[in-house]
């Protein structure tokens, strides 16, 4: 199994000379694509934090009718095929459809434009953030929030000074996961936005037009980028655990 995972990646990487890698990176089309991937991923993560973290808090703290459905819905994008997700998004945010018309009024266009990349990345990757943040919030004893309130903190102040800092590590890990998952999104992005090309779309484009040899350097660059993100994620996750009260394990 290990070989199965390792061999294709190693073979591909070794078949590309560093020189070729370097010249490929200098191509404007290539570095633009990589930059677009990274920045769109960041935007997707930003909106994920903005809307996903409050949702995660509500899911961790409150009971309401239909909560199980919402929980299931959050996990759904992980299991559906990405091209299906792209088509689904297109049928809401396409120019002729209600979502597209609504945002069109604000001057935001999704098809063939950067906002489309952002929502395509967000759709498939936001579950990672919401789930991680929810777990983080659930690990904070609600009675700790009550103590803060008895000491004079409003619910909002309690959230900012107690709950959020204690769940910070989970949220951060979730955000990194979401970002890296967003960058690697191909199917949904491909359906919504072919141009401008993000890195995975570019790799596919090179493969289609010029064949394997031309697609490989792009794929290797993509791989290196993902490994860098993955390593950052690991170091963050393996850092010193937040000091927890012994009360957590009575």
């Amino acid at each position: 199994m290990v070989l199965f995972l390792l061999l294709p990646l190693a073979t591909m990487t070794l078949s590309v000379s560093p020189k070729l890698l370097y010249t490929t990176l200098l191509e404007e089309e290539v570095w633009r694509a990589i930059l677009l991937s990274v920045s769109s991923g960041l935007w997707a993560t930003f909106f994920g934090l903005l809307f996903g973290v409050p949702l995660a808090y509500v899911l961790a703290r409150h009971r309401f009718p239909g909560k199980r459905i919402v929980n299931g819905l959050v996990d759904l994008p992980v299991v559906i095929p990405h091209t299906a997700a792209g088509i689904a998004l297109l049928s809401v945010f396409g120019r002729k459809f209600y979502g597209g018309k609504l945002f069109g009024l604000l001057g935001i266009n999704f098809v063939g434009a950067e906002p489309g990349i952002v929502i395509a990345m967000m759709f498939g990757s936001v579950p990672f953030l919401v789930n991680a943040a929810r777990d983080g919030f659930m690990a904070v004893d609600p009675r700790m929030e009550q103590v803060a309130q008895s000491l004079g903190a409003s619910p909002w102040k309690t959230f900012l000074t107690i709950t959020l800092p204690l769940a910070r590590r989970n949220i951060l890990t979730g955000a990194m996961l979401m970002w890296s998952r967003g960058i690697s999104e191909f199917g949904a992005v491909f359906i919504l936005v072919y141009h401008p090309m993000v890195a995975p779309v570019l790799a596919w484009n090179r493969f289609e037009t010029y064949g394997l040899d031309y697609a490989r350097p792009v794929a290797v660059l993509l791989l290196i980028m993902c490994i860098l993100v993955f390593l950052t994620l690991k170091t963050l996750g393996m850092g010193k655990p937040a000091p927890r009260s012994r009360a957590d394990t009575p």
């Binding site: 103590v147 309130q149 008895s150 004079g152 903190a153 000091p243 009260s245 012994r246």
Partner: protein
């Protein structure tokens, strides 16, 4: 002062009966009751964490029933401390004062005073995760006291601690209360805490406050069967412990407990004011005087004999009244009856001093 006015709560099958109660300024009130009887719910109602089903909560002439928790100025300490793990001990204690925008000079002064009182000065810059249970609970107390609360609510504050830390912290709680005079409501199921700390004690059972009064009085004269069954403390005495001035190691723990009218030989390392309790089944009754290894022996007259299923409860008038349990068979064989003279004998180790 806080007053509860027909306060009641119903959650599922649990019901807290309408409760009328008024705290006395500066008192240490211990609410005693078995687990799952609604003690914590009362604290949560006062703190504003739970809303009552009906009834009002008053602070002097102000109705605070609908006030959110953060406006009430009530200190809350849980059994498991719940310190903020991402803040240092100092930041934990300052948390409430900072929110209240207490002037910095006063913040510093209060922090110093509380840290001194609770002996945690050397821990201020550390994080709570590294502290022992006792240290964590001291920090939690300092954090709650720092806001100079209207009332301090303690939810089983000593239950999670080892016996030695528990007894130290218990004495400290008393000293802190004498020093700061903060009105305190302490809930527990432990009689010892009630007897050692309480100015007044209340017995809560199945969501009803059954008896309120001076602790020794409540323990000696339960006003109903449920209270008697719950606390069931016969032969309870208040008095002082004195140690003979021998330096002999073996006799180190040998002491005399003096209560009004009688002296018992006891085994304890405590000094000064204390309570003593002798379990009625550990006292031996005999009609003839006999020599025994037991350190305590008295002669007295039986005042009453009553049967409780297979055992008989015999009250013997020695210098102090002593309750003795014997089996019904023994009572019949010895033909025990009121007015009869008997000997009562018990070992020094049968006297529980606390």
């Amino acid at each position: 002062m806080i007053r509860l006015d027909q306060l009641s709560l119903k959650i599922g099958s649990f019901q807290l009966e309408p409760l009328d109660f008024q705290f006395r300024p500066g008192e240490y009130f211990v609410l005693l009751g078995p687990t799952g009887t609604g003690k914590t719910s009362i604290l949560e109602l006062i703190a504003g964490i739970k809303r009552p089903t009906s009834g009002r909560i008053w602070r002097d002439a102000t109705d605070i029933t609908d006030w959110p928790s953060e406006r009430r100025n009530i200190g809350f300490v849980y059994q498991d401390y719940l310190l903020f793990p991402h803040l240092t001990v100092r930041e934990n204690i300052l948390y409430g004062m900072k929110l209240r925008k207490v002037p910095e000079a006063i913040q510093r002064e209060r922090l110093q005073r509380l840290a001194g009182l609770l002996r945690i000065e050397h821990l201020l810059d550390g994080h709570p995760g590294r502290l022992s249970g006792g240290e964590q609970q001291r920090t939690a107390l300092a954090r709650a006291l720092a806001i100079e609360p209207e009332i301090l609510l303690l939810d089983e504050p000593l239950s999670a601690l080892d016996p030695q830390t528990k007894s130290h912290l218990q004495q400290e709680l008393r000293q802190i209360h004498q020093e700061l005079k903060t009105t305190t409501l302490h809930v527990t199921h432990n009689f010892e805490e009630a007897l050692n700390l309480a100015d007044r004690v209340g017995i809560l059972h199945h969501g009803r406050l059954l008896q309120v009064g001076d602790p020794v009085e409540v323990f000696q004269q339960p006003n109903c069967r449920q209270v008697a069954e719950f606390i069931g403390m016969e032969n309870l005495f208040e008095g002082t412990v004195t140690h003979a001035s021998t330096s002999n190691l073996e006799e180190d723990c040998n002491a005399v407990f003096t209560t009004s009218g009688a002296e018992f030989v006891v085994l304890t390392d405590r000094h000064g004011k204390a309570h003593a309790c002798i379990r009625p089944e550990e006292i031996i009754l005999s009609t003839d005087a006999f020599d025994s290894s037991a350190a305590n022996s008295f002669r007295g007259t039986i005042r009453e004999v009553s049967d409780k299923r297979i055992i008989s409860r015999v009250v013997v008038e020695t210098p102090v009244p002593l309750v003795v349990y014997v089996t019904r068979t023994s009572r019949q064989r010895m033909q025990l009856k009121a007015g009869q003279d008997v000997n009562v004998i018990f070992k020094a180790s049968a006297v529980h001093v606390f």
